[in-house]
Amino acid sequence: MTGGLALFVAGPLLGTALCFIVARSQTAQRVIALSVSGAVTVASIAVLVHVDTVGPVTTSMGGWPDAISITFVADRLGALMLVIGNVMMFAVLVYAIGQGSRDERSPWYAPAYLALVAGVSGAFLAGDLFNLFVCFEILLMASYVLMTLEGSDDQIRSGTTYVVLNVVESLVLVTGVALVFATTGTLSMAELPDRLAALPDGVALGLSLLLLIAFGLKAAVFPLFSWLPDSYPAAPSPVSAVFAGLLTKVGVYAILRTQTQWFPDSNRTLLLVIAAATMVVGVLGAIAQADIKRILSFQIVSSIGYMIAGIALGGVAAVAAVVFYIVHHIPVKTSLFLVDGIVEQDEGTSELSRLGGLGRRSGFLAVLFLIPAFSLAGIPPFSGFIGKLGVITVGLDQGEWWIVAVALVVSILTLVSMMKIWTGAFWGAAPDNRPRGVLRHHPLMSTMTWFVVALTLAIVMFAGPIYSFAERTAADLAVAPTATTTVGAP
């Protein structure tokens, strides 16, 4: 197991290299992509089991001592994110093959997708701050290419916003990383908590805020979120599904690590305000839209607010709720975008004014939409309810009434926005009189959507064990990763 973690990045990168070499054969690319992604997914599950039963795994690149080498660390949080991320990316990969859109048939789809897999996996495992930045760059560059794969007018316009803002984010991030090194002399994330704690207040504050801006932009928090709803809808559905489910969570993951472990208790009020604003602005944006993808994109922003609220509240209980919320939100959001992909495949649009009556035509699709939609709105017994309950219970426990009130109001507004899709696309009559039969789509698409929705239901079924896992994860985070640390539970 010692060297194994590197393969979560190296494996997909080997696949990327091979995909370049066989760029002319789409079949070969598909085989490579599927086998690599599948293998990595299976391996990630093995890592998760190992980490939970035996303990964290650390891999040092090059066999150098931990302090001077780049390390990959799989603790519970990292391993958990690794598993969910890879499962989602595999499911979407299969779905995209079923969809067979022009994007997926591009010779650059497979290599970029595998690079995305590598980048996401690396970001969850990185134990070195600069390496985290590099992994971010891999996943970002892959996402730029995926986002503009077709090179259409829409994609270029939205893609420009996406690329330019994320490039600026990268610059902010690398500035933050550089200054962390300048002040502490190390990049090892295991050593950082102690060394950062020794810094003068002003410097530590500046560093924490710089990292918060960089990761916050990635996670799309207020006021740095605006790029997301403008750019995701232009990407092809499978691409936006994976972006929506995963990429923002990479940012949330980084915020979770940095704010709880490196700068504990320092930005509570700021984070709470950001969380509330993110929730509200996101959900209002969702209500204002008239296109499925745009509604869903704004909804991402709103959900991020919940997670930030949990991070801000702090403490094991709140962080456990956040971890659970992330776990639930990734498949839920992904499945909603996959449903949208099926709709678009058949109808050629995701604008509500040009949709209607889908519920009568496909009861299955209606169920596939309703389950994650109610889940997102936090309607019990679906998974979103449990995460929401966790956050508001902590909020009430800590006496932060206003954030709980905001969270509750936002969840009803979430319901409004999701029902806007439901009443607009699934209910009612179709606006034109084209012949209507069964919804046309590739069986792989519905199969994978079922798979992801089933996953969210499994989260409901096994919420107890998952929640206790989340609590163990939160407890790990509360105690900084080095054994020598003196930082106690916040």
Partner: protein
């Protein structure tokens, strides 16, 4: 970091920011190039002080080496910067082939909503 270097960082950052806040994609890319240079300089100068070149066997004492780590980081950052600029330039090129310029326009849906806040085209169904 000396005052001179800090001043250069400030200039590069300011000019880069100024350029980035334009609507012409080419200007934005130029700005990103300058910002990238500024950040590279920042990485190098904030993490090390000028001293012996960190190459063994060239005469200077290893104890007097300037810190090689920021140099390695900047090397990586430079390459990533090259990749990003190349990609952005191809976007500018593509943008030009679409509509004959490289102006980054505002998002249309957003503008529509901002322009007509009271009109909701397909959800005004009320009894």
């Amino acid at each position: 970091m000396s005052i001179a270097q800090a001043g250069l960082i400030a200039v590069l950052f300011s000019v880069g920011t100024f350029l980035v806040l334009h609507r012409s994609l080419t200007r934005i890319i130029l700005g990103i190039g300058l910002l990238g240079n500024a950040v590279n300089l920042l990485i190098l100068t904030s993490g090390s002080v000028p001293d012996g070149v960190p190459i063994l066997g060239t005469g200077s004492d290893p104890a007097d080496f300037t810190d090689p780590v920021p140099q390695a980081l900047v090397l990586t950052a430079i390459v990533i910067g090259l990749a990003i600029v190349a990609f952005l330039l191809s976007m500018a090129y593509r943008s030009w082939t679409i509509d004959g310029n490289d102006v980054v326009e505002d998002d249309l849906s957003d503008r529509r909503i901002a322009a007509e806040p009271d009109v909701d085209e397909d959800f005004g169904e009320e009894t």
